[in-house]
Symmetry: C2
Subunit: 400 residues, 2 copies
């Protein structure tokens, strides 16, 4: 293999385990003498354009170890999309620093960027090994069983929706409705995880709305009223990206219905909670954990942490085997026990595509999630949640 | 001791450990032959008024054990305040069921109710042992070092504000401001816990607003602008009960400033996030974990779980020693290692009073929390948080 330096960078929204992948790349790189300097580009690809590079060999081993359980993106994040002109600049920087290995940790945008960097190098005859490292809580990358980051977000959502649901159930008599708003603009993976702790019909959540199924404010209110009648209270798991009858985000419809310009405040759950009060006369609270979903370390999935490290590590191994223009993907192995192997998929296959929740994981009623999803997702959060109990409540005969 | 039956009930908002106290009462009661039947009143004191009682002897041992780590209030909650007439009815029900032991798990309202039940029994010459069991995430009960429930809420807040803060820091370049809204209408204990993971000036949160110190929208915006200049981004821990210059909740001022009637949507953080965008031109996100703060089991404090069980257990022991009209309180023992003993305090001392954050725990600037608070609160969440790391970021010399 060509000897040269390495650049790793992080892109897009952080996850609870994105630093595991970073450390996986760096610690593996340290083991190979083909790799000279190990650089990090700050703030994603912008750090390359600006030559804003840092030297990982000067970081302490302790820092790297601690980073595996530190949330956020240690190198900072960027959402910049490169223009055609930028790719020339990227290669100039790579040449100037003799960079021969480039690892980009990110989602489908980042895989597109990686793909274009790889092509630009090929066109110019510059020997460069580009391997993408998948990362996104949205779990919407194609060609991989799942995305590192998703398992931890799913574990947070599964546990906290169940917990807050049990809390809500205690107070059904005073505040019978709770809406929990989850991340995921186009895909319902994170929201669907709310059902992973649901063991019976009465368990929260009772209604789940994801972007894959169109709905309407009227439909949601009708569903809530029905569930309230049935269970005495309702816990709703709502995706921030839930869509209306026209396929556009429900918030668009919402905005059209209000002229005061305050509607964007807080997103769809805030508005819907008010609607439940106004139209159904039911007290309603909402929760918006926002980036807590993708950053909680105590809630992180141990399997997710391990896999995130491994996709980073194996990205380096694949590059050193001479592979380029590919992304490390996870392939679920056959057999009773859960295990994923790392494999390579061409970047062009992943770039700019989205994997939505498939039909078989969505209930026919449009507001529930099937057992096919549960079977798929449970191993990613480390298996079934710890059991909870309800009192049997054997009544004492009245005397008065 | 008089032989008779027992009623236990839960009141007010749940905590992550309120069921530990319930199980503490029930399992201890099972050990004493002075106690005949062990009943639970559903939905707080309403269950007594309605004779809506359940029989704990018919619950399985497994259910009781699992309840120790089940969130919510297993008996359901109520916020009903009794009228004078109701106390007669309470005693009628007690007499009808030969109830001689009454344990009410709750906050200062519940201690007032317990105190009045106790007095009513004394007036009528009915032998009754009433012991209050403290519970509230607000930590605002007087005469106890702290309240069971608080440690778990504090642990959730300390961890998630730090986690979401590190996540926010990764993206300071695109969204530099994050507001996290915490529970606590009158007392800042829960919000203050946001600093328990803060080790340096650059760590989140940078600004903390609690109800104990008046502030204003203008002041908060000025503070945010300054902190943004200094740190490149700002994480704000905001109490839902933050007060304006007139000592009234800031939301009152907010409502006065807007005629559209939509302002109550989502509380103060939603509105303030919009204000940061409009007035400072800074992108701002908010988090509202709401009842997640008081229900997360994976985030619960092990010490809190143990103490919650113990105050329930010792309530029964105190009653059987002949004590009544008292609440079990926690007294912090002298010595280097943290330990609290259970003691008794008269219900009248606790009823309807509030313990706010004392001056020495609040920074002179009005938006910070002192080390006195950290020393007080750290043992309640199980000590220092696990360490996180930031890269030293040694710059690579530019070549272009």
């Amino acid at each position: 293999m060509v000897k040269g330096n390495l650049i790793v960078s992080q892109s897009g929204g952080p996850t609870a385990v994105i630093n595991c992948s970073l450390v996986g790349v760096v610690q593996e790189a340290f083991k190979h003498e083909e790799i000279g300097e190990v650089y990090g580009a700050l703030y994603g690809i912008e750090g390359v354009l600006d030559e804003n590079l840092i030297d990982f060999r000067r970081e302490s081993a302790e820092t790297l170890d601690l980073l595996r359980t530190t949330p956020g993106s240690a190198l900072g994040m960027s959402r910049r999309k490169l223009t055609e002109d930028d790719y020339g600049r990227v290669l100039d920087v790579f040449k100037a620093h003799n960079v021969r290995y480039f690892f980009y940790i990110g989602g489908n945008d980042s895989m597109d960027t990686s793909n274009k960097v790889s092509k630009a190098a090929l066109e110019r005859g510059y020997e460069l090994y580009v391997v993408g490292v998948p990362k996104t809580v949205d779990n919407d990358l194609v060609a991989t069983d799942h995305c590192p980051g998703y398992g931890s977000a799913a574990r947070f959502v599964a546990n906290t929706v169940r917990d807050t649901g049990f809390d809500t159930e205690s107070g059904y008599l005073s505040t019978p409705v709770k809406i929990v708003e989850m991340m995921g603009r186009h895909a319902g993976w994170v929201t669907a995880a709310a059902v992973l702790g649901k063991e019976s019909e009465i368990d929260p959540p009772h209604l789940v709305y994801i972007p894959e199924r169109r709905t309407s404010v009227e439909q949601i209110l009708t569903d809530i009223a029905e569930a309230h009648k049935k269970y005495g209270g309702v816990v709703v798991a709502l995706s921030e990206g839930v869509v209306g009858p026209d396929g556009k985000p429900l918030m668009t419809a919402v905005q059209a219905m209000d002229a005061f310009g305050h509607i964007q405040l807080g997103g769809v759950s805030v508005w819907l909670a008010q609607k439940v009060k106004d139209e159904l006369g039911l007290k309603c609270r909402f929760e918006k954990p926002d980036t807590m979903q993708r950053s909680s370390i105590l809630m992180a999935s141990a399997i997710d942490q391990e896999e995130a490290y491994r996709v980073g590590r194996d990205a380096v191994r694949f590059a050193l085997e001479g592979h380029t223009d590919c992304m490390v993907a996870l392939r679920r192995d056959e057999g009773p026990a859960y295990h994923c192997s790392t494999v390579r998929v061409p970047l062009a296959e992943v770039a700019n595509r989205e994997k939505l929740l498939p039909d078989e994981m969505i209930g026919a009623d449009g507001h529930s999630i099937t057992s096919a999803f549960v079977e798929y997702a449970l191993p990613l959060i480390g298996g079934r949640l710890m059991p909870y109990a309800r009192l049997a409540r054997h009544a004492v005969p009245k005397k008065l």
